[in-house]
């Protein structure tokens, strides 16, 4: 998903990144020396031990993420992990890499700013259902609509865990919490429906107990250019245990996968899901809990990153690729 081109096309960041500053060593000008790179390992990207409760579904997400990074052997300095607030939003502290732990609900715009200003980076965003669908709900819609290039992993546990059991935007009706002692009465958000209608261009659903499937979803989201969202059912063992039982094969539940079309002209293929079909995705999203898992929707609509880049290129060409100084001077000449 990373784009090697810098916004103003001035200099190749990767070679700059590989330069070591001799100034650090003694004030002489910086020289560009290729510093050897070792293969990215799980050890290199592991940071603090997670503060999550034992048995929390989020551990599996972290493990899958490490594995994908290792498999893809990304440049360590180009991995950026970001989050807002919540249990799952502690994620960046557990990844050794550039990152930021931001404020509640605003991680999508934070990540959008990074993705737009630095398309050479791999922007990974983590959060929970409260952060994504409640306090940050508006940003989710607009990030999706604008199709900013990033991967957003939402660990959905149907409850507010960090604040110790309040109703969340995805809590089912009847769920008894500290803020709904007689059971939740508000209609929960349907994440897949919301994302389809908001215009996200990669929408998938997975489950914390299905590590292999989760890794596949992360990789596909990573390979997609655009606003890629994965909703992962991730159990809160402390405040909403056993909520996903029916979906857990290990607990006797079902884990029904979306059968995607293979475009092989067979009669079976007729019944399979077309991931580019919004209405079909919407229908899948209507299935009763636990629903289905896999890719609901994917589209190659141009990203905001690409559209802004195109505008920059056309505008720069019109100015004859003038320097910053020439451009501003020209503007001032018109104001005389």
């Amino acid at each position: 998903m990373s784009d090697e081109t810098k916004p103003n096309g001035s200099g190749d960041t990767s070679s700059v990144a590989a330069a070591v500053s001799a100034a650090d060593a003694g004030g002489t000008p910086a020289t560009t020396i290729e510093i050897p790179r070792e293969k990215l390992t799980k050890k290199a990207i592991t940071a603090d031990h997670p503060t999550w409760c034992p048995g929390c579904g989020d551990f599996a997400v972290l493990a899958s993420f490490y594995k994908v990074l290792e498999k893809r052997n990304l440049d360590h300095e180009k991995i950026v992990t970001l989050a807002g607030i919540g249990c799952s939003s502690r994620f960046p502290y557990f990844v050794n890499g550039h990152g930021a732990h931001f404020i509640h609900g605003r991680a999508v715009p934070l990540a959008s700013g990074i993705s737009l200003a630095r398309p050479d980076l791999n922007v990974f965003l983590f959060g929970g259902d409260g952060d994504g669908f409640s306090i940050g709900g508006n940003h989710l819609n607009h990030g999706a609509r604008k199709n900013v290039n990033l991967v957003y992993f939402i660990m959905d546990n149907f409850v507010y865990g960090l604040t110790k059991k309040q109703t969340s935007p995805t809590s089912p009706i009847g769920f008894k919490s500290k803020t709904d002692p007689t059971g939740a009465i508000d209609q929960p958000v349907n994440p897949m429906k919301q994302l389809v209608s908001a215009g996200a261009t990669f929408i998938a659903r997975t489950h914390a107990t299905q590590v292999k499937h989760m890794m596949e979803m992360i990789e596909r989201a990573f390979d997609h250019q655009g606003f890629s969202v994965i909703e992962c059912l991730s159990e809160c063992v402390e405040f909403y245990p056993d909520v996903f039982d029916p979906a857990d094969p290990r607990k006797g539940g079902s884990f029904e996968l979306i059968q995607e079309k293979k475009w092989d002209n067979t009669p079976e293929d007729e019944l399979r899901h077309d991931v580019t079909d919004e209405l079909a995705a919407y229908k899948l999203a209507q299935l009763p809990f636990p629903g289905v898992f896999g890719v609901f929707y994917q589209s190659d609509r141009p990203t905001k990153n690409a559209l802004e880049k195109k505008w920059i290129e056309t505008t720069r060409a019109k100015t004859g690729n003038a320097s910053d100084l020439e451009l501003l001077q020209k503007t001032f000449d018109r104001m005389k």
Partner: protein, 646 residues
């Protein structure tokens, strides 16, 4: 419609002058002047802003100093509106208390603004629409059927559209303005459009210019030619443009915002201009997103800007607190308007100072700067960027409605010396601590390799030197001190401002932001009357520069002049801070909240109670002095000046 050859005129003041009988005085020798205030009063759809802007641009091109002042109704279209231009051959500090020359398009324009015409001043009115009280012998009356003549000149299809340009022609004639330069400006302005628009404009202008206005006036005028030392060309723009171009010069290439009056035009310029420089300005879904996007851009290594007016800044404060905690450089512009809440969206106030300094949860130090003039809007942006980068901190730039909408001419900046190369520093580091306790944080953006393999995390949780969360009380104390101490370091780094006027004496006026002009004009006028008075203007408000404590003892009185409320304890927002900081009981406060810029006379009357250094002309519509808030002291805004605020 009045007959053009039989103009409705009563030149009362000059009736005794012998040359009144001369039938055609078009060949009058113009009188040299060095300062004139021209107020155009009409409705906003008449294009008086356009005509006024031409005058301002022309003055700039002719190396004249110029300052404008305008009011715009908050209604979507229409409503009474004024544009005032002050052109001077010397230094123009304020837009002028009183007009020398008032152009009234309608009866309401006459009625509402005649009070602002100085005694002996000229009222030029559209005799098709206005019937002035000719018995009031204080003014010179010149009635011209502006509407009729414009329709006649343009052939009727355009109706009365173009009377602004007709009036521009009249003014050009009266003030001996450079006709060729004006026509060139009009061609530039309308050139991109349909050619017929340029032609219509020039026809209207020529008709106005050709009108035998010399028959109606006893004098024509001409600005003294001046030779500017330094010889840099003048450029003319408003404060929001200056702010936006200042950001460009400062190397700001990314930003995000949400539309709100009067900030919007800054983001419009940036959205249009940044792609030329390889940058992006994002129009976000809301204020919270816009500040968060800008923080993301800054985090990524490109110092970014966000901005708004007061209500929008309120929404951004949580994220600004994060930038302070995580020590991320960021520029936040607040183009202030009257508040609180939706308040007076198109009026001026300086009531967001405390919000800028303190507006957050927790102790979250940030830097606050305020632009003094339109020109300063340009330079303050460069200073803000310098500080944000060097101290890795959020920096507020305070501007306001009056700076945002006012056009000034100023010396063209020497861009070759000023322009900053903004690229992110992605040099690999052997090791990096994002929050060293013994140094000022230097932000290292993602993409920079850290060779010892320990990558930094920017955190809103209280953190240790590596950015990892800690609940240690000792660490919180140390980190709180670290974040505050860099502002103390900054205070050592900024010069003590110079005093204008007397460097010691009886009275020191202290100001910040757009009151610069009227305060300095007030000092000038009071000194002419023998007062020992000086002015101190603060651009760096938080932290305050060192050395102010040495200035206070040099004056008997210190009066802080600002456009906000005296508050519960009787002091304006800056006065409150200065009193708290210096425990200086000499510090007094002059404040006002009528939503209008300070008039020089108003400042003098408030500072020297009982004495006035301005000619005291009884009039309707004089500005209100807010000495108390008892009902009898509070006048409706419309009594002060019609604003058309919806």
């Amino acid at each position: 419609m009045g007959e053009p050859n039989n103009p409705d005129i009563t030149a009362v003041q000059q009736s005794a002058a012998a040359n009144v009988q001369v039938p055609d005085r078009a060949d009058l020798r113009p009188e040299n002047i060095n300062d004139a205030v021209i107020r155009l009063a009409g409705n906003s759809q008449d294009g008086i802003q356009t005509a006024g802007a031409f005058l301002a641009r022309l003055a700039g091109r002719s190396a004249q100093d110029v300052m404008t002042y305008m009011t715009i109704p908050a209604t979507i279209s229409g409503g009474p509106s004024i544009f005032q231009v002050r052109i001077g051959s010397g230094e123009v500090l304020s837009a002028g208390d009183e007009a020398d020359f008032l152009v009234a398009f309608y009866q309401h324009s006459y009625h509402d603004h005649i009070g602002f015409l100085r005694e002996g001043g000229v009222l030029l009115y559209d005799s098709d629409n206005v019937e002035p009280d000719l018995d009031d012998k204080r003014f010179v009356y010149v009635g011209i059927p502006i509407t009729g003549l414009t329709v006649e000149a343009l052939g009727g299809t355009a109706k009365d559209k173009g009377k602004n340009i007709f009036v521009l022609g009249l003014i050009a004639k009266i003030f001996h303005l450079d006709q060729e330069k004006l026509v060139a400006l009009m061609k530039e302005k309308f050139g991109g459009k349909d050619e017929s628009i340029v032609n219509t404009a020039i026809m209207a202008f020529t008709a106005g210019y050709a009108y035998p206005v010399g028959n109606l006036l006893t004098k024509l005028y001409q600005f003294e030619k001046i030779d500017k030392p330094g010889g840099r060309a003048q450029i003319t723009m408003d404060g929001n443009q200056a702010l936006a171009y200042g950001l460009l010069a400062a190397g700001v290439r990314f930003g995000a915002g949400y539309p709100i009056t009067p900030w919007s035009s800054v983001m419009e310029v940036l959205r249009r201009e940044l792609p030329k420089y390889g940058g992006i300005f994002v129009q976000a879904e809301d204020e919270l997103a816009s500040v968060s996007i800008a923080i993301g851009m800054s985090y990524s290594g490109w110092l970014a800007v966000t901005g708004s007016a007061g209500p929008g800044i309120s929404l951004k404060t949580e994220a600004i607190g994060w930038a302070s905690m995580a020590e991320i450089p960021l520029i936040i512009c607040n183009v202030q308007r009257g508040g609180p809440s939706t308040g007076l969206p198109t009026n001026v106030e300086q009531s967001d100072l405390h919000q800028a300094i303190f507006g957050s949860h927790g102790d979250s130090p940030r830097v606050v700067l305020a632009a003094a003039t339109v020109e300063d809007c340009f330079y303050i942006a460069i200073e803000a960027a310098r500080i944000a980068r060097k101290y890795s901190t959020p920096v507020f730039i305070l501007s306001d409605t009056s700076l945002a909408t006012r056009i000034e001419a100023f010396d063209e900046p020497d861009l070759a010396k000023i322009m900053v190369d903004p690229k992110p520093d992605l040099t690999a580091r052997q090791t990096h601590k994002p929050y060293p306790l013994d140094q000022i944080t230097q932000h290292v953006p993602p993409g920079a390799r850290i060779l010892d393999g320990k990558y930094p995390l920017m955190s809103g949780l209280e953190h240790d030197e590596m950015g990892h969360p800690t609940g240690s009380p000792k660490m919180h104390m140390a980190m709180t001190a670290k974040r505050r101490n860099k502002l103390r370091k900054l205070a050592d780094d900024i010069p003590t401002p110079e005093i204008y006027g007397d460097e010691q004496g009886d009275t020191l006026l202290v100001g910040w932001g757009s009151t610069y002009g009227p305060i300095h004009d007030a000092v000038k006028r009071a000194r002419e009357h023998g007062e020992k008075i000086g002015a101190l203007h603060l651009r760096h408000i938080h932290p305050l520069p060192n050395g102010l404590e040495k200035i206070w003892p040099k004056f008997k009185r210190i009066v802080v002049v600002e456009m906000n409320d005296a508050g519960v304890y009787g002091y304006g927002q800056l006065a409150t801070i200065l009193r708290a900081r210096y425990c200086e009981s000499k510090i007094e406060s002059v404040t006002k909240t009528d939503g209008l810029t300070f008039r020089v006379k108003e400042i003098l009357e408030n500072v020297f109670k009982g004495k006035t250094y301005a000619r005291n002309i009884p009039r309707d519509g004089a500005a209100v002095e807010h000495h108390g808030t008892a009902p009898e002291n509070v006048k409706h805004l419309k009594e002060v000046v019609p604003q058309g605020v919806g």
